[in-house]
Protein backbone atom coordinates (compact mmCIF):
# COMPACT_ATOMS: atom_id res chain seq x y z
CA UNK A 1 0.00 0.00 0.00
CA UNK A 2 1.26 3.46 -0.93
CA UNK A 3 -0.26 6.73 0.13
CA UNK A 4 0.40 10.30 -0.95
CA UNK A 5 -1.42 13.52 -0.19
CA UNK A 6 -2.64 15.66 -3.09
CA UNK A 7 -4.51 18.92 -2.43
CA UNK A 8 -5.17 17.83 1.14
CA UNK A 9 -6.72 14.52 0.05
CA UNK A 10 -5.05 11.16 0.46
CA UNK A 11 -4.55 9.06 -2.67
CA UNK A 12 -4.01 5.37 -1.96
CA UNK A 13 -2.59 2.69 -4.23
CA UNK A 14 -3.25 -0.96 -3.48
CA UNK A 15 -0.20 -2.67 -4.98
CA UNK A 16 -1.91 -6.06 -5.22
CA UNK A 17 -5.05 -5.04 -7.06
CA UNK A 18 -3.65 -1.82 -8.58
CA UNK A 19 -6.84 -0.10 -7.45
CA UNK A 20 -6.63 3.56 -6.51
CA UNK A 21 -8.66 5.21 -3.78
CA UNK A 22 -9.20 8.83 -2.86
CA UNK A 23 -10.08 9.98 0.64
CA UNK A 24 -11.87 13.24 1.42
CA UNK A 25 -10.62 15.67 4.08
CA UNK A 26 -12.09 13.74 7.02
CA UNK A 27 -11.04 10.38 5.57
CA UNK A 28 -7.54 11.75 5.15
CA UNK A 29 -7.43 12.90 8.79
CA UNK A 30 -8.56 9.44 9.95
CA UNK A 31 -6.03 7.71 7.68
CA UNK A 32 -3.21 9.88 8.98
CA UNK A 33 -4.27 9.21 12.58
CA UNK A 34 -4.28 5.47 11.85
CA UNK A 35 -0.79 5.70 10.32
CA UNK A 36 0.62 7.84 13.14
CA UNK A 37 -0.75 5.53 15.83
CA UNK A 38 0.30 2.26 14.21
CA UNK A 39 -3.31 1.33 13.56
CA UNK A 40 -4.33 1.27 17.23
CA UNK A 41 -7.95 2.33 16.97
CA UNK A 42 -8.34 3.31 20.62
CA UNK A 43 -5.53 5.84 20.20
CA UNK A 44 -6.94 6.94 16.83
CA UNK A 45 -10.26 7.67 18.51
CA UNK A 46 -8.54 9.75 21.20
CA UNK A 47 -6.61 11.79 18.63
CA UNK A 48 -9.70 12.44 16.51
CA UNK A 49 -11.73 13.45 19.56
CA UNK A 50 -9.14 16.15 20.21
CA UNK A 51 -9.29 17.29 16.60
CA UNK A 52 -13.05 17.34 16.02
CA UNK A 53 -15.93 18.72 18.06
CA UNK A 54 -18.04 15.56 18.03
CA UNK A 55 -19.71 13.16 20.46
CA UNK A 56 -17.52 10.13 21.26
CA UNK A 57 -20.27 7.62 20.35
CA UNK A 58 -20.87 9.30 16.99
CA UNK A 59 -17.14 9.40 16.17
CA UNK A 60 -16.65 5.78 17.28
CA UNK A 61 -19.46 4.68 14.96
CA UNK A 62 -18.08 6.74 12.03
CA UNK A 63 -14.58 5.41 12.64
CA UNK A 64 -15.78 1.81 12.58
CA UNK A 65 -17.76 2.41 9.39
CA UNK A 66 -14.64 3.94 7.81
CA UNK A 67 -12.41 1.06 8.91
CA UNK A 68 -15.01 -1.46 7.65
CA UNK A 69 -14.86 0.19 4.24
CA UNK A 70 -11.05 0.04 4.23
CA UNK A 71 -11.25 -3.65 5.11
CA UNK A 72 -13.87 -4.31 2.40
CA UNK A 73 -11.62 -2.57 -0.14
CA UNK A 74 -8.68 -4.69 0.96
CA UNK A 75 -6.72 -1.65 2.07
CA UNK A 76 -6.23 -2.74 5.69
CA UNK A 77 -6.60 -5.84 7.84
CA UNK A 78 -7.94 -5.76 11.38
CA UNK A 79 -6.27 -7.81 14.14
CA UNK A 80 -7.98 -8.32 17.50
CA UNK A 81 -5.91 -6.82 20.33
Amino acid sequence: MFAQKVDGEMVLLDMNTENYFGLDEVGTAIWQAIEENNGELVKVLEVLLEQYDVEEDVLKKDLLVFVDRLVESGLVKVDEA
Binding site: F2, V6, D7, V11, M15, G22
Partner: protein, 293 residues
Protein backbone atom coordinates in the same frame (compact mmCIF):
# COMPACT_ATOMS: atom_id res chain seq x y z
CA UNK B 1 15.33 17.85 -35.96
CA UNK B 2 14.87 17.31 -32.25
CA UNK B 3 12.82 14.27 -31.24
CA UNK B 4 12.07 14.27 -27.51
CA UNK B 5 14.97 16.71 -27.23
CA UNK B 6 17.31 14.15 -28.83
CA UNK B 7 19.06 14.34 -32.18
CA UNK B 8 18.71 11.14 -34.18
CA UNK B 9 20.92 10.05 -37.04
CA UNK B 10 19.45 7.40 -39.33
CA UNK B 11 22.68 5.99 -40.73
CA UNK B 12 21.11 3.71 -43.34
CA UNK B 13 18.02 5.83 -44.09
CA UNK B 14 19.55 9.33 -44.57
CA UNK B 15 16.32 10.69 -46.08
CA UNK B 16 15.03 10.99 -42.49
CA UNK B 17 17.92 13.14 -41.29
CA UNK B 18 17.93 16.89 -40.84
CA UNK B 19 20.09 18.86 -43.19
CA UNK B 20 22.20 20.52 -40.49
CA UNK B 21 25.50 18.75 -39.73
CA UNK B 22 25.75 16.90 -36.41
CA UNK B 23 28.69 16.46 -34.10
CA UNK B 24 29.23 12.76 -33.47
CA UNK B 25 28.91 13.14 -29.72
CA UNK B 26 25.52 14.78 -29.70
CA UNK B 27 23.22 12.35 -31.45
CA UNK B 28 21.71 8.91 -31.06
CA UNK B 29 22.70 6.75 -33.99
CA UNK B 30 20.06 4.50 -35.56
CA UNK B 31 22.01 1.89 -37.44
CA UNK B 32 21.24 -1.42 -39.12
CA UNK B 33 22.67 -4.69 -37.81
CA UNK B 34 22.86 -6.78 -40.95
CA UNK B 35 24.44 -9.95 -39.66
CA UNK B 36 23.27 -10.48 -36.10
CA UNK B 37 20.98 -13.42 -35.35
CA UNK B 38 18.72 -12.13 -32.59
CA UNK B 39 17.94 -15.62 -31.35
CA UNK B 40 21.61 -16.43 -30.82
CA UNK B 41 21.97 -13.85 -28.03
CA UNK B 42 20.18 -15.95 -25.45
CA UNK B 43 18.06 -13.00 -24.31
CA UNK B 44 15.01 -13.41 -22.11
CA UNK B 45 11.82 -13.01 -24.11
CA UNK B 46 8.38 -11.86 -22.98
CA UNK B 47 5.18 -13.25 -24.45
CA UNK B 48 3.96 -11.73 -27.69
CA UNK B 49 1.47 -8.90 -27.18
CA UNK B 50 -0.44 -6.56 -29.53
CA UNK B 51 1.15 -3.17 -30.22
CA UNK B 52 0.06 -0.52 -32.76
CA UNK B 53 -1.58 -3.11 -35.00
CA UNK B 54 1.38 -5.48 -34.88
CA UNK B 55 2.55 -8.21 -32.55
CA UNK B 56 5.57 -7.44 -30.38
CA UNK B 57 7.70 -8.74 -27.52
CA UNK B 58 10.58 -7.51 -25.39
CA UNK B 59 13.99 -9.16 -25.21
CA UNK B 60 16.36 -8.43 -22.33
CA UNK B 61 19.59 -9.77 -20.94
CA UNK B 62 18.21 -9.35 -17.39
CA UNK B 63 14.58 -8.91 -16.30
CA UNK B 64 13.52 -5.28 -16.60
CA UNK B 65 12.84 -4.95 -12.87
CA UNK B 66 16.39 -6.10 -12.01
CA UNK B 67 18.15 -4.13 -14.74
CA UNK B 68 20.70 -1.44 -13.85
CA UNK B 69 20.67 1.95 -15.54
CA UNK B 70 22.15 1.83 -19.00
CA UNK B 71 21.26 -1.79 -19.68
CA UNK B 72 20.60 -3.17 -23.15
CA UNK B 73 17.29 -4.56 -24.34
CA UNK B 74 15.27 -5.00 -27.51
CA UNK B 75 11.76 -4.75 -28.93
CA UNK B 76 10.87 -7.23 -31.65
CA UNK B 77 7.97 -6.32 -33.91
CA UNK B 78 7.06 -9.61 -35.48
CA UNK B 79 7.98 -9.85 -39.18
CA UNK B 80 8.79 -6.11 -39.34
CA UNK B 81 12.00 -5.40 -37.42
CA UNK B 82 13.83 -5.81 -34.12
CA UNK B 83 15.10 -2.68 -32.38
CA UNK B 84 17.99 -2.91 -29.89
CA UNK B 85 18.91 -0.29 -27.31
CA UNK B 86 22.63 -0.32 -26.61
CA UNK B 87 22.61 1.25 -23.16
CA UNK B 88 26.38 1.63 -22.98
CA UNK B 89 26.99 3.21 -26.37
CA UNK B 90 23.54 4.88 -26.34
CA UNK B 91 22.75 3.70 -29.85
CA UNK B 92 19.72 2.15 -31.52
CA UNK B 93 20.43 -0.89 -33.69
CA UNK B 94 17.91 -2.73 -35.78
CA UNK B 95 17.49 -5.91 -37.77
CA UNK B 96 15.12 -5.94 -40.70
CA UNK B 97 12.45 -8.61 -41.06
CA UNK B 98 10.24 -9.59 -43.98
CA UNK B 99 7.85 -6.62 -43.87
CA UNK B 100 10.40 -3.94 -43.04
CA UNK B 101 10.04 -0.55 -44.70
CA UNK B 102 11.96 2.67 -43.96
CA UNK B 103 8.69 4.39 -42.98
CA UNK B 104 7.98 1.62 -40.48
CA UNK B 105 11.47 2.02 -39.03
CA UNK B 106 10.88 5.72 -38.47
CA UNK B 107 7.41 5.08 -37.00
CA UNK B 108 8.61 2.49 -34.50
CA UNK B 109 11.66 4.52 -33.45
CA UNK B 110 9.86 7.85 -33.00
CA UNK B 111 6.47 6.64 -31.82
CA UNK B 112 7.42 3.74 -29.60
CA UNK B 113 11.05 2.82 -29.12
CA UNK B 114 12.65 6.15 -28.20
CA UNK B 115 9.86 6.98 -25.68
CA UNK B 116 10.45 3.54 -24.12
CA UNK B 117 14.19 4.18 -23.93
CA UNK B 118 13.74 7.59 -22.32
CA UNK B 119 11.25 6.29 -19.77
CA UNK B 120 13.36 3.24 -18.87
CA UNK B 121 16.44 5.45 -18.54
CA UNK B 122 14.32 7.65 -16.21
CA UNK B 123 15.20 10.63 -18.37
CA UNK B 124 11.56 11.63 -18.93
CA UNK B 125 8.10 10.34 -18.09
CA UNK B 126 6.10 9.87 -21.25
CA UNK B 127 2.45 10.90 -21.28
CA UNK B 128 -0.06 9.85 -23.90
CA UNK B 129 -1.39 13.36 -24.51
CA UNK B 130 -1.79 15.95 -27.23
CA UNK B 131 -0.03 19.26 -26.59
CA UNK B 132 0.04 22.71 -28.17
CA UNK B 133 1.17 26.16 -27.16
CA UNK B 134 -1.15 28.99 -26.21
CA UNK B 135 0.62 32.33 -25.84
CA UNK B 136 3.94 30.47 -25.76
CA UNK B 137 2.90 28.14 -22.90
CA UNK B 138 2.38 24.37 -23.32
CA UNK B 139 -1.08 23.02 -22.54
CA UNK B 140 -1.83 19.29 -22.60
CA UNK B 141 -4.93 17.38 -23.74
CA UNK B 142 -5.64 14.10 -22.00
CA UNK B 143 -8.46 11.75 -23.05
CA UNK B 144 -9.37 8.15 -23.53
CA UNK B 145 -8.68 6.57 -26.93
CA UNK B 146 -10.71 8.32 -29.63
CA UNK B 147 -11.48 11.02 -27.08
CA UNK B 148 -10.60 13.90 -29.39
CA UNK B 149 -6.94 14.65 -28.51
CA UNK B 150 -5.66 14.60 -32.07
CA UNK B 151 -8.71 16.38 -33.49
CA UNK B 152 -8.31 19.19 -30.98
CA UNK B 153 -4.53 19.42 -31.44
CA UNK B 154 -5.10 19.58 -35.20
CA UNK B 155 -7.62 22.41 -34.77
CA UNK B 156 -5.13 24.42 -32.70
CA UNK B 157 -2.48 23.75 -35.35
CA UNK B 158 -4.83 25.07 -38.05
CA UNK B 159 -5.27 28.22 -35.95
CA UNK B 160 -1.51 28.78 -35.98
CA UNK B 161 -0.54 27.39 -32.58
CA UNK B 162 2.69 25.42 -32.29
CA UNK B 163 2.48 21.66 -31.82
CA UNK B 164 4.43 19.87 -29.09
CA UNK B 165 2.76 16.50 -29.35
CA UNK B 166 0.01 14.77 -31.23
CA UNK B 167 0.30 11.51 -29.34
CA UNK B 168 3.01 11.43 -26.68
CA UNK B 169 4.93 14.02 -24.71
CA UNK B 170 7.97 13.83 -22.47
CA UNK B 171 7.77 15.28 -18.96
CA UNK B 172 10.92 16.44 -17.22
CA UNK B 173 10.94 17.23 -13.50
CA UNK B 174 13.16 20.09 -12.38
CA UNK B 175 12.76 20.71 -8.64
CA UNK B 176 9.05 21.41 -8.17
CA UNK B 177 8.42 22.25 -11.83
CA UNK B 178 7.35 19.93 -14.62
CA UNK B 179 8.48 20.68 -18.15
CA UNK B 180 6.96 19.59 -21.46
CA UNK B 181 9.46 17.92 -23.80
CA UNK B 182 8.10 18.10 -27.38
CA UNK B 183 7.98 14.73 -29.16
CA UNK B 184 8.06 14.83 -32.98
CA UNK B 185 6.74 17.17 -35.67
CA UNK B 186 3.96 14.97 -37.00
CA UNK B 187 0.23 14.98 -36.42
CA UNK B 188 -2.31 12.34 -37.29
CA UNK B 189 -5.85 13.68 -37.26
CA UNK B 190 -7.13 10.37 -38.66
CA UNK B 191 -7.32 6.79 -37.46
CA UNK B 192 -4.61 4.69 -39.03
CA UNK B 193 -2.09 2.48 -37.30
CA UNK B 194 1.67 2.45 -37.89
CA UNK B 195 1.88 5.91 -39.34
CA UNK B 196 3.07 9.22 -37.89
CA UNK B 197 0.68 11.26 -40.04
CA UNK B 198 1.46 14.63 -41.61
CA UNK B 199 4.70 16.53 -41.09
CA UNK B 200 4.34 20.05 -39.71
CA UNK B 201 6.85 22.89 -39.72
CA UNK B 202 4.95 24.59 -36.90
CA UNK B 203 6.57 22.51 -34.19
CA UNK B 204 7.99 23.74 -30.89
CA UNK B 205 11.33 22.22 -29.92
CA UNK B 206 12.03 24.22 -26.77
CA UNK B 207 11.37 22.61 -23.38
CA UNK B 208 8.98 24.76 -21.31
CA UNK B 209 7.02 24.39 -18.06
CA UNK B 210 3.65 22.65 -18.40
CA UNK B 211 1.05 25.38 -18.04
CA UNK B 212 -2.11 23.30 -17.63
CA UNK B 213 -3.68 19.95 -18.43
CA UNK B 214 -7.19 19.63 -19.88
CA UNK B 215 -8.98 16.31 -19.51
CA UNK B 216 -11.37 16.01 -22.44
CA UNK B 217 -14.78 14.63 -21.59
CA UNK B 218 -17.39 13.96 -24.22
CA UNK B 219 -20.83 15.46 -23.65
CA UNK B 220 -24.09 15.66 -25.62
CA UNK B 221 -24.08 17.61 -28.88
CA UNK B 222 -26.09 20.48 -27.40
CA UNK B 223 -24.32 20.73 -24.02
CA UNK B 224 -22.42 23.85 -22.98
CA UNK B 225 -18.62 23.87 -23.05
CA UNK B 226 -17.68 23.81 -19.38
CA UNK B 227 -14.30 23.86 -17.65
CA UNK B 228 -13.95 22.64 -14.05
CA UNK B 229 -10.77 22.49 -11.97
CA UNK B 230 -9.91 19.00 -10.67
CA UNK B 231 -8.49 18.27 -7.23
CA UNK B 232 -7.05 15.35 -5.30
CA UNK B 233 -7.33 11.89 -6.81
CA UNK B 234 -9.02 13.22 -9.96
CA UNK B 235 -5.83 15.12 -10.81
CA UNK B 236 -3.72 12.07 -10.14
CA UNK B 237 -5.98 9.97 -12.39
CA UNK B 238 -5.53 12.43 -15.24
CA UNK B 239 -1.81 11.64 -15.24
CA UNK B 240 -2.04 8.00 -14.32
CA UNK B 241 -4.46 7.10 -17.11
CA UNK B 242 -2.35 9.10 -19.57
CA UNK B 243 0.77 7.08 -18.87
CA UNK B 244 2.29 5.98 -22.17
CA UNK B 245 4.09 3.04 -20.61
CA UNK B 246 2.66 0.75 -17.95
CA UNK B 247 5.46 -1.59 -16.92
CA UNK B 248 4.32 -3.36 -13.77
CA UNK B 249 7.66 -2.98 -12.00
CA UNK B 250 7.46 0.82 -12.32
CA UNK B 251 4.04 1.26 -10.72
CA UNK B 252 5.35 2.48 -7.35
CA UNK B 253 7.63 5.11 -8.85
CA UNK B 254 4.88 6.05 -11.33
CA UNK B 255 2.46 6.53 -8.42
CA UNK B 256 4.95 8.70 -6.54
CA UNK B 257 5.82 10.73 -9.64
CA UNK B 258 2.23 11.44 -10.62
CA UNK B 259 1.00 12.24 -7.10
CA UNK B 260 3.92 14.68 -6.78
CA UNK B 261 3.22 16.17 -10.21
CA UNK B 262 -0.45 16.58 -9.24
CA UNK B 263 0.62 18.96 -6.48
CA UNK B 264 2.19 21.42 -8.89
CA UNK B 265 0.40 21.20 -12.25
CA UNK B 266 -3.17 22.52 -12.59
CA UNK B 267 -5.63 20.08 -14.16
CA UNK B 268 -9.06 20.91 -15.58
CA UNK B 269 -11.88 18.85 -17.00
CA UNK B 270 -13.48 20.29 -20.10
CA UNK B 271 -16.84 19.04 -21.30
CA UNK B 272 -16.79 18.85 -25.06
CA UNK B 273 -20.05 18.80 -27.02
CA UNK B 274 -19.55 15.89 -29.44
CA UNK B 275 -20.16 17.99 -32.54
CA UNK B 276 -17.33 19.03 -34.86
CA UNK B 277 -19.24 22.17 -35.86
CA UNK B 278 -18.83 23.39 -32.28
CA UNK B 279 -15.10 22.70 -32.06
CA UNK B 280 -14.40 26.43 -32.37
CA UNK B 281 -16.28 26.96 -29.07
CA UNK B 282 -14.01 24.43 -27.35
CA UNK B 283 -10.97 26.09 -28.89
CA UNK B 284 -12.03 29.56 -27.78
CA UNK B 285 -12.92 28.38 -24.26
CA UNK B 286 -9.46 26.81 -23.80
CA UNK B 287 -7.60 29.79 -25.24
CA UNK B 288 -9.44 32.23 -22.95
CA UNK B 289 -9.26 29.97 -19.90
CA UNK B 290 -5.58 29.07 -20.24
CA UNK B 291 -4.58 32.72 -20.42
CA UNK B 292 -6.39 33.48 -17.16
CA UNK B 293 -4.47 30.86 -15.15
Amino acid sequence: MLIFNQKLLFVNEPQFNSVEPLERTEYIEVCEFSTLDVHSLGMLKTKWFPMSGQTARYLTTVPFHEAPKGFSWALEIQDVLTLFWDGVERKIRYIKSEHYTPERLRFWVLHTFLPLVLELERQYRILHVGSVEVAGKPILFSALSFGGKSTLADYFLQKGHKLLSDDSLGIEKRDDSYYAVPSYPFHRPFRKLETLGYYTENFETEIKPVHAVYVLEKSARDEEVEIIELKGIEKFKAFHYSSFIDFDFMKKERFEYFTEMAKYVPVYRIQIPWNLKRLHEVYEAIVVHSQKI
